[in-house]
Symmetry: C2
Subunit: 348 residues, 2 copies
DNA sequence: TTAATTAATTGGAACGTTCCATATAAGTCA
DNA sequence: TGACTTATATGGAACGTTCCAATTAATTAA
């Protein structure tokens, strides 16, 4: 029926007003008479008008759009998927829409998508950076006055806002808990040693051990891929050392699940024969058997907070870097054996 | 340093050519001399030029952009996250960028985000529709000539392209396999009965049973939420009926994991004491203990194919609906007991 | 009554790009 | 020589919106 798309001029013509008036209606300006407003909105509905945000933001000062970008390093990891969902929630209800891209830890891909997003005129960016992201990758954005918040992983040497979880406090609490259950040899399993997140978690583990008066021999920290397979591998090596650990705090939940798998493969039951605690509290942690004791970080909440921070900066116009650390909490379930100990105590 | 953003006019001025020439360079036109091209690209780099796609697609005929939209019903479900990743892959390498939104099964939210995406001028849409999505929700898009492909779930009565997996063949193969292992009472567990996907999977189950000469008493199909918790619930009910089933094909992997949990809670070992097969082949299926026998659907591949189909239609200009059904395959692991049977056979 | 105020509306210019038709320069052919 | 090509380069006009300054109409103040 229509030859081209319906524009404000078409609406104006049909409603018998000027395009300026239609524009005012579009923006909900109080300067327009209720009657005219009604007439115009009716015409818009009738003609099936769809707003052209591209044209709008072209005209608007400095081309600020209603688009924010979010790039994550691994969307197939449910932690980051949850993060994206959290961002989406607040971004959506603020009338923004999100460009989402997955880098799969590729720094080149990350560069590409960020460039592409800039071309599309994003007014802000949330990035969970790929490994080895440098400050230079984000520099042009901030130079152009585009607010950026990095999430989950920090980018060293960069002056942008960030939101990371309190990794140190998390593993500290985990070790403290295990020590209170009587464990004396606690391993740290999984993760790649070249990352800031790994270092922080390891630090918390070491601090808690020494605070509990326990030693932390280097052979008890065993790194591996931060995945389920990595966990299987790590527990295998952990159980082969002479003076076996009786408990482990794992780099993340994926590793912890792998550790459980590895234990079962050796006829050991996680929670009863060996205590394991994870990190992240992914959705499956609660329903797994045994339910995983872990450090809960609420990635969705983190995403929400990141988005709120970003929106604040977008609205403020000026973006002074702000770093927020997301507090975490130990949630005690079954895989650490605490529940079991408790029932034993009741029997005694 | 710069007061406003750098535009083609600035580049033209600095390079001593006209804006038209700059535009030609931008589009990689062969009409421009190599020398000028080099000079122009150099100036662009020097001045930190960033292309304004908004302005470009405003001018371009009918405002076709390099944006495609993807809306999924539940991004926290790794199946859909994988789907999105698959889409992202091909979309990215075709020079497009994706708007991604999560509806969380809310039809209102879906309407909002689709409207918002239209305003931003997407040139195509991939949607894994929320439950109860109607043809009317997609009608305006196709009327406007915007290619749409629905994935995973079909929307009845709509004339758009679709890509769904061969649900019937999947459960058929599962039942066939279980029957060949000697099972005579096979349950169908989990899922909501009001969906097309459920019906198709149930159909395949029934057909295979009758093909194997087995009966399919109604008490053996037990619906529940398509989640891990739903699985726990369903197996609980399944084991309480008089003539217990000895095997189950589950609505999806989440349900299957729940079923395994429920079995263990009753001191039954999945694979040994009860055969369970899932549907989807999520990443954890392979590494779980026991490894899950399931129907592999390769959501990432599905995403890739959906994106390819969409891009084809975008490039073709005209979009005749095409439906492709994604074939699935039974992958035999441990939870169905086949491996065990095999080793028993070897001993015999 | 006129002047001043308020309320509602409006035409044109601008945003950054692409497209079209035209222009220039150099080379080729009778 | 003049009339063609061919290879490059170019000024406007257009895309759909918003903003600004200006206009009209209705109301109030003096």
């Amino acid at each position: 029926m229509a030859k081209g798309r319906v524009t404000v001029v078409d609406i104006a013509k049909a409603a018998g007003v000027s395009k300026s008036t239609v524009s005012l209606v579009l923006q909900g300006s109080p300067l327009v008479n209720e009657g005219t407003r009604a007439k115009v909105t009716a015409t818009m509905r009738d003609l099936g008008y769809v707003y052209n945000r591209g044209a709008a933001s072209l005209r608007q000062a400095n081309g600020r759009s209603k688009i924010i970008g979010i790039v994550v390093n691994d969307l197939t990891n449910s932690f980051f998927a949850e993060l994206a969902v959290g961002v989406d929630m607040v971004v959506q209800s603020a009338g923004f829409v999100q460009f989402l891209s997955n880098t799969g830890e590729s720094i080149d891909r990350q560069r590409e998508v960020i460039a592409s997003m800039r071309e599309h005129g994003i007014s802000g960016l949330i990035v969970s950076p790929a490994r080895a992201t440098e400050a230079a990758d984000l520099k042009p954005l901030v130079a152009a006055g585009i607010p950026v918040v990095v999430a989950v992983r920090n980018v060293p040497g960069t002056k942008v806002s960030s939101i990371v979880s309190d990794n140190r406090a998390g593993t500290y609490a985990a070790v403290e808990h295990l020590a209170s259950l009587g464990h004396r040899r606690v391993a740290f399993l999984g993760g790649f040693p070249d990352t800031a997140v790994f270092d922080e978690r390891l630090d918390g583990y070491r601090e808690a051990l020494s605070a509990a008066g326990l030693e932390s021999p280097p052979e008890l920290v065993i790194s591996s891929a931060p995945s389920r397979a990595g966990g299987v591998d790590a527990i295998g090596r952990a159980l082969s050392i002479p003076d076996r650990p009786t408990a482990a705090v794992c780099f993340n939940d994926a590793v912890a699940f792998g550790v459980c798998d590895g234990l079962r493969a050796r006829r050991m039951e996680p929670g009863r024969d060996f205590a394991v605690v994870g990190f992240d509290d992914v959705i499956e942690a609660k329903t797994a058997v045994p339910a995983l004791t872990t450090i809960s970080v609420d990635p969705q909440g983190m995403g929400r907070r990141a988005a709120q921070l970003l929106l604040k900066q977008i609205n403020a116009g000026k973006a002074d870097a702000e770093s927020i650390v997301n507090s975490v909490r130990l949630v005690i379930r079954e895989s650490c054996g605490a529940k079991q100990k408790q029932s034993e105590r009741k029997l005694a």
